[in-house]
């Protein structure tokens, strides 16, 4: 049998990755943000029921993001930090996903969400010279494209609309909104513009703070940035309240049980670090392969990976 031993990325794409990483390192060096290195193999994995960690028998889990460890560094007084590391997610494979990928993640103590968005756009100015940017509130953008309000439209109307666009049956409201966002709304964003989307519904808060909007609805202090049809960045004004963190762990754990997933115990190290005190901060994660795909106008992750999962 002949094996596919050759890399799927061209030499040019391999060089582009090296170039992108050196641009990113120079960007943070100039701003006094410290590069750090945290474990990829740890006893606890993320509790989020929509992210599956890869277990390593006898050791724990390959990390789906360096978030928990980086927050422990922040609580210990590291100041602003960034990391470029591998991250692992079981089952995430497709034209734009590989179970092992490279993540760029950074945290800025003292930054609110808009300060961090500005810093992301400054970095993107170096990576994607000349690309204009525009900011949308999730709710307004969703309503403009679909004619439905993601927070106040009835569940059945949102679910029915998602099904009209080919969604599987039995979605709940949150999943129906996610589906419409991923299919119709993202597709409507101008490809050649850096589109910043803010104020996500509170159910999509993950580890972000929430706040009450002017009309009383709860929104998450979270943003995403899209460019050339790719979701490039996902940022939060970070939750710092250890008790709220514990409640979210408990909710995740209950949902994991309902979905029939493995139980993920709350990470006691993270909770203790947050009890000690996580400084007010904002943080963002970006997929390095996505950045490369956007730079090279590619829509296949294979083209920027030396050896994707099926030939690694």
């Amino acid at each position: 049998m002949v094996t596919d031993w050759r890399p799927t990325a061209s030499l040019e794409a391999i060089k582009a990755r090296a170039g992108l990483l050196s641009t990113v390192r120079a960007f943070f060096a100039a701003r006094g943000v410290l590069e750090v290195d945290t474990p990829q193999l740890a006893r606890h994995g993320v509790s989020d029921p929509h992210i599956q960690c890869i277990p390593v028998p006898g050791h724990g889990y390959l990390q789906s993001s360096p978030e928990y460890h980086m927050k422990r560094l922040l609580a210990a007084g590291s100041g602003p930090i960034y990391q470029i590391c591998k991250a692992y997610r079981d089952g995430e494979a497709g034209a734009r996903h590989n179970p092992e990928f490279t993540m760029l993640e950074w945290y800025r103590p003292g930054f609110d969400l808009s300060a961090l968005i500005n810093e992301c756009l400054t970095l993107f100015g170096e990576l994607f010279p000349g690309a204009p940017s525009r900011t949308y509130r999730f709710r307004d953008l969703f309503a403009d494209v679909t004619g439905l309000d993601p927070l106040t439209t009835s569940d059945s109307d949102l679910i029915q609309r998602a099904e009209q666009h080919g969604a599987p049956e039995d979605l709940d409201k949150a999943a129906a909104v996610d589906y419409l966002m991923a299919t119709t709304v993202e597709a409507a964003l101008p490809a050649e513009q850096l589109s910043v989307v803010t104020d996500f519904p509170s159910w999509a808060a993950a580890l972000a703070q929430t706040r009450t909007d002017t009309d009383g609805t709860e929104v998450a202090l979270r943003f995403e940035i899209y460019y050339r049809g790719l979701e490039l960045a996902n940022g939060y004004q970070e939750l710092t309240d250890a008790d709220e963190q514990r409640r979210r762990f408990e909710r995740d754990s209950r949902l994991r049980g309902e979905y029939g997933l493995n139980v993920m115990d709350a990470d006691p190290y993270l909770l203790d670090a947050m009890h000690h005190g996580l400084p007010a901060c904002s943080g963002v994660a970006m997929g390095v392969e996505r950045l490369l795909m956007a730079q090279r106008n590619s829509n296949r992750i294979d083209e920027v990976l030396t050896f994707p999962g099926d030939r690694a």
């Binding site: 079981d90 089952g91 969604a167 999943a175 966002m181 993202e186």
Partner: protein, 189 residues
């Protein structure tokens, strides 16, 4: 049959959907924000050849389809069925017109074909990429014209009609690319 979850979906996997065997063409993992992940899947219905697009929730699964691609030799047609033989076991299978489809115009006795078996019966027949067939009818071409600019129609022994260069004559053997139905040269006797 085993069942496959969305994380196992990949191009070429054969699964059952709405009671029909299908081959997965493409599986695109879609993960909007922090929520429910989906698999947007393109499948070819192996019975009809139609391409379907479906979206599944991550973790959903489909039953595998008992579909197998095997190399078989075409033996003969009795008008109703086209008969194929496994050259190792000598086992024979008969394919109906629906299974043979467009392949029938390229089938020459003793040629090896790829036969897709579903629950052990022929579902689809793929002719070889190139076949060599005798030209049984074509207008005499003009002497000296070798450029073959427009070409002319020629009927092959199987009844298929292709376009050939003007210099090609009746009784010659044409090589045909069955994927495009185009003339690909002639075989010198």
């Amino acid at each position: 049959m085993a069942s496959y979850s969305t994380s196992e979906f990949k191009s070429g996997l054969k699964v059952m959907l709405d009671g029909d065997p299908c081959a997965i063409i493409e599986n695109e993992f879609v993960k909007p924000g922090k929520g429910q992940a989906f698999s947007r899947v393109k499948l070819r219905n192996l019975k009809t050849g139609k391409v379907w697009e479906r979206t599944f929730k991550s973790g959903d699964s489909l039953e595998g389809a008992d579909v197998l691609d095997v190399q078989m030799q075409y033996i003969f047609s009795d008008g109703e069925f086209w008969h194929f033989m496994d050259t190792e076991t000598f086992e024979q299978k008969q394919a109906d017109e629906a299974a043979v489809g467009d392949a029938k115009q390229w089938l020459k006795e003793e040629d090896m074909c790829e036969v897709t078996l579903y629950n052990g019966e022929p579902l689809n027949v793929n002719p070889p990429n190139f076949v060599e067939l005798e030209i049984v009818e074509t207008d005499p071409g003009l002497k000296g014209d070798t450029a073959g600019t427009g070409g002319k129609p020629a009927t092959l022994s199987t009844g298929a009609v292709i376009r050939v260069p003007l210099f090609v004559q009746e009784g010659e053997i044409a090589k045909v690319d069955t994927r495009t139905g185009e003339y690909a040269g002639r075989i010198k006797n």
